[in-house]
């Protein structure tokens, strides 16, 4: 019911945008030595698709998300949102980072209001902040400061801070990694229902193959660094999905194999 409140507060539901990642390569300079991180990555995401990105730690997933957000420029290749080159960050593509990075000098409410305030529309849209807080179940902590929150609560505030902007592309860097398994399952369900209602395009980095399969309609598996696309798997199953679904279990085994875990499974 809180979710409906959010839907009502937003008069024009932003439909998802298409995202094209075309032959993107990227590298970092560490003390003059070039460290290749992404090598020739091409992914074409349909509007409203939910894409999960899986890959070994340190392979370059977060780097790719930064490029999509427009925070960094790729060394080679192009990124486009609805045919338009991504050059700068824009609130139509909102990131939930791996660390919650809440502003410690702002209360929970003010943290969530950050995007609306930065765009100068907070005055007329205060309700959206309340709704987003409702959605992550933290209304009673609106006046708390970040140092008074648990790790999982902080991550939920970060999620609310992103959702309140009604993004066309929601970029999630392991946003549920720090939650306890119960909250995590609830948040996964919330995420799916939110995504189904708003139809934003979603990029989700996760370490958890099961989470990827429960949530996404497409799972992309990356290689070791420098990352390239190793597999692009469609998950054609209706929502809500069941963890015990034999079809998903099969895909999961396949994905873990791609990540190099054949022997144990």
């Amino acid at each position: 019911m809180v979710a409906t409140a959010l839907a009502e507060a937003v008069t024009h539901p932003a439909a998802g945008a298409a995202l094209d990642i075309e032959q993107v390569s990227h590298a970092f300079d560490i003390d003059g030595i070039e460290l290749p991180v992404l090598s020739d990555v091409s992914i074409s995401v349909e509007p409203g698709e939910f894409v999960a990105l899986l890959g070994p730690s340190g392979c370059g997933k977060s780097t790719l998300l930064r490029l999509v957000a427009g925070l960094d420029k790729p060394k080679a290749g192009r990124l486009r949102e609805d045919e338009e080159r991504i050059k700068h960050p824009h609130p139509s593509r909102v990131v939930v980072f791996q660390d919650p990075t809440l502003f410690p000098w702002r209360s929970v409410w003010d943290n969530v209001a950050l995007g609306l305030e930065a765009q100068g529309i907070l005055k007329s849209q205060r309700q959206r902040v309340d709704d987003a807080l409702d959605l992550v179940g933290l209304s009673s902590f609106r006046n708390a400061y970040p140092h008074q929150l648990s790790g999982g609560m902080a991550q939920r505030v970060a999620l609310a801070r992103a959702l309140v902007n009604d993004p066309k592309i929601l970029i999630l860097d392991e946003p549920l990694g720090k939650l306890d398994s119960l909250t995590r399952i609830t948040m996964q369900a919330e995420l799916v229902s939110l995504w189904q209602r708003k139809a934003f395009t979603t990029l989700l980095v996760t370490h958890d193959a099961e989470e990827a399969l429960v949530l996404a309609n497409r799972v992309i598996v990356f290689s070791e660094r420098p990352a390239h696309v190793k597999a692009d798997i469609r998950v054609d199953r209706p929502y809500p999905r069941h963890r015990g679904d034999p079809y998903l279990a099969d895909l999961r085994r396949q994905i873990l194999g791609l990540l190099g875990l054949d022997a144990t499974w």
């Binding site: 990131v95 990075t101 702002r106 305030e117 765009q119």
Partner: protein
């Protein structure tokens, strides 16, 4: 037995269940207050008992006042339970009252009565009281002049320092030009400018304002700058993806994140500006507490010097308290800040 019933009568009327720790409780809660009233009575007695070795007009009144304080200490602490928060506050400070009464007694005896400490360099308490009652207008004028000078200089220095610090921290171009100047001039003690300032500025007042501003500005600039420079990039990334413009990044990200550093600079600036204020008043400006000290020394009026010193320390301490309370208000989000 009689001890118990006695303590029962005195101990505050609050119902107590066990009798054994009653005496201990009473001593802990009210005993110190009784002791305080004893030391203050001793002070009063020491004022009135002997003749003064010198000629001071306030000895008698001081003795009476000491007895009044002794009475307040006694009834205030023993009856603290009926006095609400004032009683609690008094009880908390009772050990200090004891120490203060003892110190004043010693001081009185050592100066006015037995002259263990040489006069006129060590005036008795009543001499200082006499300054406050008889030389009040001049003292107040001095206080007013000092506060005005200090406040003007400090506000100018803090504002300019803050703006400079933010600009250097934010803009490479500003940093390129200002940083070397800051490195060259900043570490110079502001008092070194004194001779030049006093003949280049139109008035000694403007010269002193400049010097105080300089002493304040340097630490504020450096710490604001380092605060802005050390703001984590992650904060900027978050704000930028949410649609923040550069002005938002400065005003709503860089400055609030740097504020704890800024306050360290403000405290340091306050300390060094006090030093400049006193020197400037002694040398240049013919007003203020620094000048009062100088003037009192010229007349060998040592009691006036002590009186002015006490006022000065109250003012400086008050200024720091004020700054602390501003900081606590602005930085409520920080945990574990120091209490002043």
């Amino acid at each position: 037995m009689s001890t118990y019933s006695l303590s029962d009568g005195l101990a505050s009327g609050a119902p107590r269940t066990s009798r054994a720790p009653l005496l201990a409780t009473w001593i802990r809660e009210s005993g110190v207050g009784v002791l305080a009233s004893i030391t203050w009575s001793a002070f009063g007695l020491s004022c009135l008992w002997w003749e003064d070795v010198g000629d001071w007009s306030r000895t008698h009144s001081l003795g009476i006042a000491a007895f009044v304080i002794a009475a307040v200490a006694l009834f205030g602490t023993v009856g603290a339970d009926y006095l609400g928060s004032a009683g609690k506050a008094l009880r908390k400070r009772a050990p200090w009252l004891v120490a203060l009464g003892a110190f004043l007694t010693l001081w009185e005896v050592a100066t006015a009565k037995l002259a263990w400490l040489p006069l006129p360099f060590f005036p008795p308490p009543q001499a200082i009281i006499e300054v406050y009652t008889d030389d009040l207008p001049k003292l107040l004028d001095s206080v007013f002049a000092s506060v005005k000078l200090q406040l003007g200089g400090y506000l100018i220095g803090a504002t300019v320092g803050f703006l400079t610090g933010v600009s250097i921290g934010w803009s490479r171009a500003v940093g390129y030009w200002v940083h070397p100047v800051l490195r060259f001039i900043g570490p110079l003690p502001a008092t070194a400018w004194l001779p030049i300032a006093f003949f280049t500025f139109p008035s000694s007042w403007s010269a002193s304002t400049f010097l105080i501003a300089l002493a304040t500005g340097f630490p504020v600039t450096v710490l604001t700058w380092s605060g802005v420079a050390s703001v984590s990039n992650a904060y900027y990334d978050v704000a930028r993806t949410l649609g923040a413009k550069p002005s938002f990044l400065v005003l709503k990200v860089a400055i609030p994140a740097a504020l704890p550093h800024v306050f360290v600079g403000l405290f340091m600036g306050l300390g060094s500006s006090f030093a400049v204020l006193v020197v400037a008043e002694m040398i240049g400006v013919k007003a203020g507490l620094g000048w009062y000290l100088q003037w009192a020394q010229g007349w060998a009026a040592y009691a006036n010097m002590y009186a002015a010193l006490i006022v000065m320390s109250l003012l400086c301490s008050g200024a720091i308290t004020l700054l602390f309370s501003i900081r606590d208000r602005l930085l409520v989000w920080q945990k574990g800040t120091v209490k002043w």
